[in-house]
């Protein structure tokens, strides 16, 4: 019944919005690209000089300016950070879409930017609270933790926290790390990490743009409660064959890209070759980690074949191994195999359509060999069929509609504490239909109202359950230089990892569909914010959020018997305020952010702070272009101490080494800790400064970039944990100099 109402409302909305115009009108649609590679320039600015209005390019580099008075010329000025602006005169024909392609030429001195791009886009009524758009050069400008890393760069954003240096896992606005969805070209990556979770598995060299939603994400996204990281890969250089070779202390990388008839391709591979640097992250422990990743894309765009359509086939494969020589020490293996096909269509009407088919397979194995570790094998097979349509009306309003069909099969082979083994995996089907309407017709007001309806059949059941996720976000510009934004929405999550909250380093995080005894997690979120353009070079952004989630899957701490459930439903609550101040006055750039946040969890009737709850979080990053190819940047991070459970003493536990012997004779003791109330204590404050110095050499045949970075410049001894066996204090990353070299041909 409710589904019927949803469809009816969607059709009425479509009908009402289609207003015929009495005057002769036309539309300009364009694609902005990099002249050197043909790569789309996303979130760039396009200004219509005569009307002092404009648009910004979308995640594919397209822009649309509808409802223009026809039969006249307009001057379009396209601009993008790091490129020379370009001005084009366009004649608009009545009742037609005038298509233009604008190629921008890079400036001779490359502008390094660590501010979010798109901050000064013309369309200031865009409903994008909680969204941070990043370009790859934003990541490259930051000090490197061994090498440029996507997830470690996200940790510099407001509202994103970590539990320390050892993991690239991140926590967004008080949500657990398994509440973050990582999409590569729209395909979920279940284990996006390399080397024990220390680094991101997605090679930055294949990235074109990144959309990171810290909350308030629109109706086209679903499946997670806390954040969406949507990574869009490049098409490949459409103009010439080129390559990049990159080496660091950890891995070597190679990227080849170039044109093919009516299209382009890229092929990228990375392979680890040394573990020495990992030791620094792991307190000098030697972990025999070995990994590689491989990705490719074939892009095809022939105007004579299905006019207006372009195709892409892309794949991403990663394999991480930890292989110990001794048969008494367990091995690990983690693999991602991702494959996708996309058809993108831009027709003669202002309609964008994208159809996709994708497969994402994750396999994580803990191989005990002859150790006492329990076997664990997890496999997730995720098949997806997607259709996303956006129609832009003459009024500039947009109607979005789409469906995502997902068939997920999980298997989790677990040997439990009683020695029994079995598969607790299952399968599920999810059909998500969404519709949203974006009101963009007013210069000082923007609204995005959408509804996502999920029809889910889980755990082999033939019955589909309806789940509604309404989402609303708005933008109001009450006066020049002041923008107010807000969002409200309901979010659901039907998959979770089986992971102990007490594990600070974990290798295999098995994914499962929510078991039948637990309802899927549901979250309700509110956010409000303001952007103040204090001056031409200074912006202040403030965002506040409140997030409450129920049925959050938590590992059952009281599972002793095979019949006990593995998971229990908990609740989580988080709220906070995020402030960020950006100063851009070339050659200086300065970004600061401060987050004041609270996060709570509740399980078995007890409320506690999760181990990533940090009250104060301050980050400052500065970048200076020193000229002549030299640049430097520095980042200082400060987090107030994260929770930990205080030690309330020790006790001796009987450890039965040989069940045939008289236990009191061979009474083996294992010292165990007696713990105080969960996470009531706080670790000392964490702070660290990182620095990088870069030099770019431009030769006729190649561009060579050298980066010298220092992590933890002043060797802050940030506490990681205390060893149970010895009482020894174990600190996080020490002073660590690293270097990378990149050659672009």
């Amino acid at each position: 019944m409710r589904l019927k109402s949803f469809l009816t409302i969607s059709i009425i909305l479509l009908f009402l919005s289609h207003q015929a115009s009495a005057q002769e009108r036309g539309t300009i649609r364009g694609l902005v690209t990099d002249s050197t590679s043909g790569e789309a320039l996303v979130y760039g600015n396009v200004l219509l000089k005569e009307l002092s209005t404009g648009a910004s390019t979308d995640a594919r580099g397209y822009f649309i300016i509808p409802s223009l008075e026809a039969r006249r010329e307009y001057t379009i000025i396209a601009s993008y950070v790091g490129f020379n602006s370009k001005s084009i005169t366009v004649y608009v024909q009545p009742d037609k879409i005038t298509q233009i392609d604008i190629e921008l030429v890079p400036t001779s001195v490359q502008l390094q930017s660590i501010e979010m791009i798109g901050q000064r886009i013309v369309e200031s009524n865009e409903t994008d609270i909680g969204l941070q758009r990043l370009a790859i050069k934003d990541l490259e400008a930051l000090p490197k933790s061994v090498e440029t890393d996507l997830f470690r760069s996200l940790q510099n954003l407001p509202g994103v926290s970590t539990t320390g240096d050892v993991s690239a896992r991140y926590y967004v606005r008080g949500g657990a790390s398994n509440e973050n969805l990582v999409l590569l070209d729209g395909i979920p990556i279940y284990s996006p990490f390399h080397a024990l979770g220390l680094f991101s598995a997605i090679d930055p060299d294949i990235i074109n743009s990144i959309e990171f939603y810290r909350g308030g994400f629109p109706a086209q996204f679903g499946g997670r409660l806390s954040s969406i990281l949507n990574v869009l890969s490049k098409k490949g250089n459409q103009n010439r064959l080129s390559g990049k070779v990159n080496t660091s202390f950890l891995s070597g990388k190679l990227l080849i890209e170039g044109p093919i008839p009516d299209g382009a391709f890229y092929l990228s591979g990375r392979k680890s070759y040394s573990n020495d640097i990992l030791k620094k992250f792991l307190n000098e422990r030697n972990v025999p980690a070995d990994f590689y990743d491989l990705s490719f894309k074939l892009y095809y765009n022939n105007p004579d074949f299905l006019k207006g359509g372009s195709f892409s086939i892309h794949g991403f494969f990663s394999d991480d191994k930890i292989s110990n020589e001794s048969s008494k020490i367990e091995d690990y293996r983690l693999k991602n195999n991702v494959f996708g096909f996309k058809w993108f269509y831009v027709g003669d009407v202002p309609l964008f359509m994208e159809l996709g088919f994708n497969v994402s397979v994750f396999q994580g194995d803990l191989i005990p060999k002859f150790s006492k570790v329990l076997q664990r094998n997890n496999k997730v097979t995720d098949l997806g069929l997607t259709a996303d349509l956006t129609y832009m009306f003459d009024s500039k309003d947009e109607l979005g509609f789409g469906f995502h069909i997902k068939e997920v099969k999980t298997s989790l082979f677990l040997e439990n504490a009683q020695g029994y083994s079995g598969d607790i995996g299952t399968s599920g089907t999810n059909i998500s239909i969404y519709s949203k309407y974006k009101v963009m017709r007013f210069e000082n007001f923007g609204l995005d109202a959408g509804l996502r309806v999920g029809l889910t059949s889980m755990n082999g059941s033939e019955k589909f359950t309806e789940r509604f996720e309404p989402r609303v976000s708005f933008t109001i510009i009450p006066m020049n230089g002041v923008t107010l934004k807000g969002a409200w929405g309901i979010y659901r999550q039907e998959m979770t990892t089986v992971l102990s909250e007490n594990e600070v380093i974990s290798i295999v995080e098995p994914w499962i569909i929510y078991p039948s005894y637990l309802k899927p997690a549901r979250s309700i979120q509110y956010s409000l914010g303001a952007i103040l353009n204090l001056s031409r070079v200074l912006d202040l952004s403030i965002e506040s959020y409140y997030k409450k989630s129920t049925n959050v899957a938590i590992l059952n701490p009281e599972k002793y018997l095979p019949t006990d459930h593995d998971l229990i439903g908990g609740t989580s609550l988080s709220y906070g305020n995020e402030f960020s101040l950006n100063y851009i006055n070339e050659p200086f750039k300065l970004s600061t952010s401060y987050t004041l946040a609270w996060a709570y969890r509740e399980k078995l009737g007890k409320r506690y702070y999760p181990n990533y709850d940090s009250r104060h979080n301050f980050k400052i990053s500065g970048e200076i272009d020193l000229g002549k190819g030299w640049s430097t940047s520095i980042v200082l991070k400060y987090n107030s101490g994260v929770p930990f459970t205080k030690l309330a003493g020790f006790t001796d536990q009987l450890f039965m080494n040989d069940l045939f012997n008289e236990w009191f004779q061979d009474y083996m003791i294992k010292t165990i800790r007696i713990l105080d109330i969960t996470n009531l204590g706080r670790l000392p404050d964490y702070h660290r400064m990182d620095f990088t110095l870069s030099k770019t050499f431009d030769f006729d045949f190649a561009k060579v970039n050298l980066d010298f970075s220092i992590m933890n410049v002043y060797n802050r001894e940030n506490l990681f944990y205390y060893s149970l066996a010895t009482g020894e204090r174990v600190n996080m990353l020490p002073f660590l100099p690293t270097a990378t070299i990149r050659v672009e041909l």
């Binding site: 570790v373 504490a417 594990e503 459970t645 030690l647 045939f660 713990l675 204090r729």
Partner: protein, 328 residues
Amino acid sequence: MKKRINLLLLVVISLNFISCEEDFNPYAELKDEYHLYCILRDDTNFQTAKIIRSYAGENLSPDSLTEEPFVERARIWIRSEEEQLVFKEGFAERNNENKYGNTSHYYYLDNFRPNPNLTYEIEAVLPNGLRLTSSIEPTPAVQFMWVNSQKIFPPADLTQTAISYQWNQSNIDDDFQYIARLNIIYSKENSPKEYFPVPFIYMMENDSTYGIYRTLSPDNFISFRNVIINEAMEKLSESEPLKNKFTVYGMEFEVCVLNRSLNNYYQSTILRGETISLVLNENYYTNIENGKGIFGLQAFGTFKTILTQSYVNSFGYNYSSTGGDNER
């Protein structure tokens, strides 16, 4: 430019000398916690119990405590539908030394052999008035299935490549766990009898060999390949060229069954830590009310397999038939 960059690097590097660490105390106030351990065995008349208390370590090191945190002067009763007994307090020399030296304090009963088929309760009243209690349900005694258990080795059937043992009728409703081991009984010259374990399989690693043994399992059946027994017979005297110094008496197969609560406890405490993962908190099973620890029961069974004289002599060992007969 060069000067500016050098100056920048100098400033950054000099920051390294401002290393800082702050004092931090991860201790809360000591939480009083009492653990009662009592594991009854049906193969002996001597039963023991132990009560220990929690303690604070100095400088975050639990090794700083050198005196066993044993709770003295407690009263401990054990009850069944048939009898009620009171434990006595005592101590003994341990087989191995730990941080408290080699003396182990305990409470004991010296004339009590539990019947696995009965329900037992335990109650301990501590000097501070705290009362720790627990109970255990009946556990199956070990009964071998003679037809499926090997009585003589090597088997008369030359095509039989492995020997097997089976005990307690398999019942899918049971969730009892068994641990089993096979030993060769031997002596060297005039020394007492010793047990040499026969593994499931031998593994080679770094030019040395080690055995893999059966762990706790719900299976009530086990097989040992003949070649592994042959290899164990050879390894028994590996370092001794004069094989006739050894006398072999036979083989003994032992099974131990744990009652449910002891099984849960054992499984939750066994050292299973993954070598790389790092877990800070530890949970383990207890069935003691008002405290922690475990009240459990172990039932044992032994099955003897005769080794033929020709087989023993083929390794150069002396043969003795004493100790090779089945007692059950």
